[in-house]
C-alpha cells in the first residue's frame, strides 16, 4: 500500500522495465517470500510484507506496467510451516534455508518457462 505507491520502488521497477524491453528483453518481478528468511527476532518486518502492506500496491504497479509478476508469498503459504520448522533447527541457517530455496526453485521453474 505504501511502498510501491510512492515514487521509489514502483518508478525504479518501471524504469528497469522500460530499459530492458527497449533492448529486446523481457522483465519480470518476483516477490521473494519472507519465509526464506524468517527469524523469530528480526529487525525485518516480515509480518507486514505482502499482502497486508506493500503487496497489493506492488501488484498494481506490476499490472500497470504489464510486468510479469509472481508473488511467491502466496505460493509459499502452504509450505511455510515446513520451512519454518527447518529454520528453527540450524543456527546459521536462518537467513536463508535450503528447504525454502528448493520450494522457491520449484515454483519459479513454471514461472520462468511461462516468461
Amino acid at each position: 500500500m505504501y511502498l510501491s505507491s510512492e515514487k521509489a520502488v514502483c518508478s525504479m521497477v518501471s524504469e528497469i522495465n522500460k530499459d530492458v524491453t527497449a533492448k529486446g528483453g523481457l522483465f519480470a518481478v518476483v516477490m521473494i517470500p519472507y519465509v526464506l528468511g524468517d527469524r523469530k527476532y528480526s529487525s525485518e518486518p516480515f509480518d507486514v510484507y505482502p499482502p497486508q502492506y506493500c503487496g497489493n500496491a506492488f501488484v498494481d504497479c506490476m499490472s500497470r506496467n504489464e510486468i510479469p509478476f509472481l508473488n511467491l508469498h502466496e505460493a509459499f503459504d502452504d509450505a511455510s510451516l515446513d520451512v519454518n520448522d527447518k529454520n528453527t533447527v540450524f543456527l546459521f541457517d536462518r537467513h536463508f534455508n535450503a528447504g525454502g530455496h528448493e520450494k522457491a526453485a520449484e515454483l519459479l521453474f513454471a514461472f520462468e518457462r511461462n516468461c
Binding site: 526464506l36 529487525s43 518486518p45 528448493e102 519459479l108
Partner: protein, 293 residues
C-alpha cells in the same frame, strides 16, 4: 582461551607451591585478568571483522553499529547507501570490485546457441543466496532444472535502485532474454528509514498503526553495555554452533536480551511511510546523480 587459562593456572600453582599465599592469589588474579582481557580483545576483533557481515565490498567511511539477531551488536562498515550508488554511477567506479559479486561469471559468447535462453537475476541477499551454499540456492537449482544459463547480479543489502544500476551496466554484457528482479522489500524500507530516522541502522523495526516503529540504539549508551548484554557473544556463538545445549543457551540468552534491551536500551522513533517517503523523494528524479538525497 579458557583451556589455556586453566593450564596457566595449574602450571602457576605447581611452580609457586612453596611460595606465600599472597603471591599465589596475586598470580591467579593476574592470569584471570589477562585471560579476561584476551577474551575481550578477541571478541572485539571478531565483532569488527565478522566475516559474514564485513567484507571489502562494504564501502564506507566509518563503522556503524548493527544489531544482528544471532550475535548481537557488531561494528561494521555501512551498507552501500544511495549516495554511494550515486557515486558509483556518476564516477564509473568499478562495481564488480566495489560490491564483490558472489558469482564470478564468465562473460558469455555474444552468439547464443540454439534454444538458449539467458536469464539474469537482480536482487539482494535473498536472491544472492546468502548463508546457503552455491548448490542449494534457488538460482542454481533453477539452472539445473531449466537447463538454461542463469546469471546473478544480486548483491546483499541493496535496494531496487542498485538493481537498476546493475542492469544498466550489464545488460549488454549478458544480453539476457529475461531479466528477473527478486524483490524483497526490506532493503528499500530500511534505506528510507535510515535516511529518515538518522538511525545508523534500524535495530528493531515493526508495524505500529499506519507506520513502523523503529528502535535505535542510543548513541549515548555505551558500547560497554551493549557489548556485554548482547546475545550471545561471538566466542560463545561459535562454540555453541555444534552443540544442542549451546543452541538452547543461545535462544534463552537472546530472549533475555530482548526483554532487557526493549525496556532499557532502545530509543523508539516513528516512521510513517506515506508521509516520510514523500519527504525523502522531494525534488528527486531517477537518473544519474539525482540518486543523491
Amino acid at each position: 582461551m579458557i583451556d589455556v587459562s586453566v593450564v596457566c593456572i595449574l602450571v602457576f600453582l605447581w611452580k609457586t607451591r612453596k611460595t606465600g599465599r599472597r603471591e599465589l592469589y596475586f598470580g591467579i588474579a593476574a592470569i584471570l585478568i589477562f585471560s579476561f582481557l584476551s577474551l575481550f580483545v578477541t571478541e572485539l576483533i571478531l565483532r569488527v571483522y565478522y566475516v559474514d557481515n564485513l567484507s571489502d565490498s562494504r564501502i564506507g567511511r566509518k563503522f556503524v553499529r548493527h544489531y544482528n539477531t544471532d550475535v548481537g551488536i557488531m561494528l561494521h562498515k555501512p551498507m552501500p547507501g544511495r549516495e554511494k550508488l550515486a557515486e558509483f554511477y556518476s564516477n564509473g567506479v568499478n562495481l564488480e570490485k566495489a560490491f564483490q559479486l558472489r558469482d564470478q561469471h564468465v562473460v558469455p559468447s555474444p552468439e547464443k546457441e540454439e534454444g538458449e535462453k539467458r536469464i539474469v537475476w537482480l536482487g539482494d541477499s535473498m536472491t544472492e543466496g546468502a548463508q546457503v551454499s552455491n548448490e542449494e540456492r534457488f538460482l542454481s537449482l533453477l539452472e539445473k532444472s531449466t537447463g538454461q544459463p542463469h546469471y546473478s547480479l544480486a548483491v546483499g543489502g541493496t535496494s531496487t535502485d542498485f538493481a537498476k544500476v546493475m542492469i544498466d551496466r550489464y545488460y549488454d554484457v549478458f544480453k539476457p532474454d529475461i531479466v528477473i528482479l527478486g524483490f524483497y522489500p526490506l532493503n528499500d524500507y530500511e534505506e528510507f528509514g535510515r535516511q529518515y530516522s538518522d538511525c545508523g541502522f534500524a535495530s528493531l523495526f515493526e508495524p505500529d498503526g499506519d507506520g513502523f516503529r523503529y528502535a535505535c540504539v542510543e548513541n549515548k549508551k555505551s558500547l560497554f553495555y551493549s557489548f556485554f548484554l548482547q546475545p550471545p557473544n561471538m566466542l560463545f556463538h561459535y562454540a555453541a554452533y555444534w552443540t544442542v545445549l549451546g543452541n538452547v543457551l543461545i535462544e534463552a540468552r537472546k530472549e533475555l536480551y530482548f526483554r532487557i534491551a526493549e525496556k532499557y536500551y532502545y530509543k523508539p522513533s516513528y516512521f510513517h511511510p506515506a508521509r516520510d517517503f514523500k519527504k525523502l523523494f522531494e525534488n528527486n528524479d531517477l537518473k544519474g546523480d539525482v540518486f543523491i538525497f
